[in-house]
Every structure is written in structure tokens, then in C-alpha cells.
């Protein structure tokens, strides 16, 4: 398994501003993902952030809005840019430990945009 932490755990932001969410893993992993969970809904994959390659975004998500960094095998950031109230969600990072097949999730970052 993997132990994942996220910062901040929650935040309240003004529209038009940006927030960077950090994801830290207790072991080196290649595969990392970022998900969004809008209020009352299930999880939607934003992007894949594998170390050593550019992040790949799912349909409906673009790099300008959700830039991602993956500087090493234990850390990643997701920035939510130029925020609007529609960005209010829980943002979760997840990893698939190397040589395993199960995906483990961080505790999430709860974002409210006013």
C-alpha cells in the first residue's frame, strides 16, 4: 500500500485566484493521478501525472486550467487556476505503487470558491 498526504486539507478561495494542492507519498511511485469529486457526485479523473513524462489530461480538462507538476517520484502538485464557484470540489490524488495493481487515494483537499 501507500501512505498519501495532501495539503491543504481544505481551503476557501475567492474567484479569480489560484490554489496549488500538494500530494506527498511515503514511497517512490511512478503512476499518480488527480481526481475531482464535485458535491454529491462521484470521482472524475482529471489527469495522469506519471513521473518522467508530461501530464496527460482527460477530456474536459486542460493544462492551462489545471497545471500539474511531478518533480520526483514522491511528490506532485495540482494547481486550480482562475477559480470559479464551479471549481468547488474535493480534489484527490492517487497512486498505483510500482508492481502493484491497486490504486490508493489521498485524504483529499476540500475547496470552496466564493
Amino acid at each position: 500500500s501507500a501512505v498519501i498526504s495532501q495539503k491543504p486539507s481544505r481551503d476557501i478561495c475567492q474567484r479569480g485566484t489560484s490554489l496549488t494542492i500538494q500530494c506527498q507519498v511515503d514511497s517512490q511511485v511512478t503512476m499518480m493521478f488527480w481526481y475531482r469529486q464535485q458535491p454529491g457526485q462521484s470521482l472524475t479523473l482529471i489527469a495522469t501525472a506519471n513521473q518522467g513524462s508530461e501530464a496527460t489530461y482527460e477530456s474536459g480538462f486542460v493544462i492551462d486550467k489545471f497545471p500539474i507538476s511531478r518533480p520526483n517520484l514522491t511528490f506532485s502538485t495540482l494547481t486550480v487556476s482562475n477559480m470559479s464557484p464551479e471549481d468547488s470540489s474535493i480534489y484527490l490524488c492517487s497512486v498505483v505503487p510500482d508492481f502493484q495493481e491497486t490504486q490508493y487515494f489521498g485524504p483529499g483537499t476540500r475547496l470552496l470558491v466564493l
Partner: protein
């Protein structure tokens, strides 16, 4: 598009009762994963099913995957208030680890 249908959407049971949550896909799955989420928190991994007909148990929770690998059930025996939360099924449909998720089942257990 590929979706996972989860039922029921919500469930309220008396403590001690058994319950079942279902997850159905229109396509064959590479893997089916069950998670539990406390309100507003991250996902806790429960079980992974990969083989048709596979069944796994952990404490009072049993998960099954049908032979066609398109339907899974999660069964809780003698439910307790600690079982309360949102249960989500997730699936790897392309073997890429990019999961899709069901809509979730919100479980409440009355003491």
C-alpha cells in the same frame, strides 16, 4: 460512454441487518475495486476483484465479481454503525489504471 451503475443510491438499515450493494458495467472489466469514503474525506481501499467468479472477504464484508466480469456485489453481514459511509465501486476498463467510478451508495446504519 462507459459507465458504472451502482445501486441503491442510498440505504438505511438497522444495526445487525445484512445488506448488499451492486455495481454493474456494460463492458467487461479489467479490475473492479471497492472503496469506502467517509463524508468529505478520501477513499479507503476495501477490496480488488480481477477474476471472473472471484469472491473476497474481509471481516464482515464480502465482495463478488460475476463470471462475465461485468457485475459486482458488496455484501455486509450484521452491519454496525462503523460501516456507515459512502461505498464506491471503481473499475479499470482499459487496463490503464484510469479508473471510472460508480455514483456511490450512501449507507447509514441505525444503532
Amino acid at each position: 460512454s462507459q459507465e458504472l451503475e451502482q445501486s441503491p443510491q442510498s440505504l438505511i438499515v438497522q444495526e445487525g441487518k445484512n445488506l448488499t450493494i451492486n455495481c454493474t458495467s456494460s463492458k467487461t472489466l479489467y479490475g473492479l475495486y471497492w472503496y469506502k469514503q467517509k463524508y468529505g474525506e478520501g477513499l479507503i481501499f476495501l477490496m480488488m476483484l480481477q477474476k471472473g467468479g472471484e469472491e473476497k472477504s474481509h471481516e464482515k464484508i464480502t465482495a463478488k465479481l460475476d463470471e462475465k466480469k461485468q457485475q459486482s456485489s458488496l455484501h455486509i453481514t450484521a452491519s454496525q454503525p462503523s460501516h456507515a459511509g459512502i461505498y464506491l465501486c471503481g473499475a479499470d476498463i482499459r487496463g490503464t489504471y484510469k479508473y471510472i467510478f460508480g455514483t456511490g451508495t450512501r449507507l447509514k446504519v441505525l444503532a
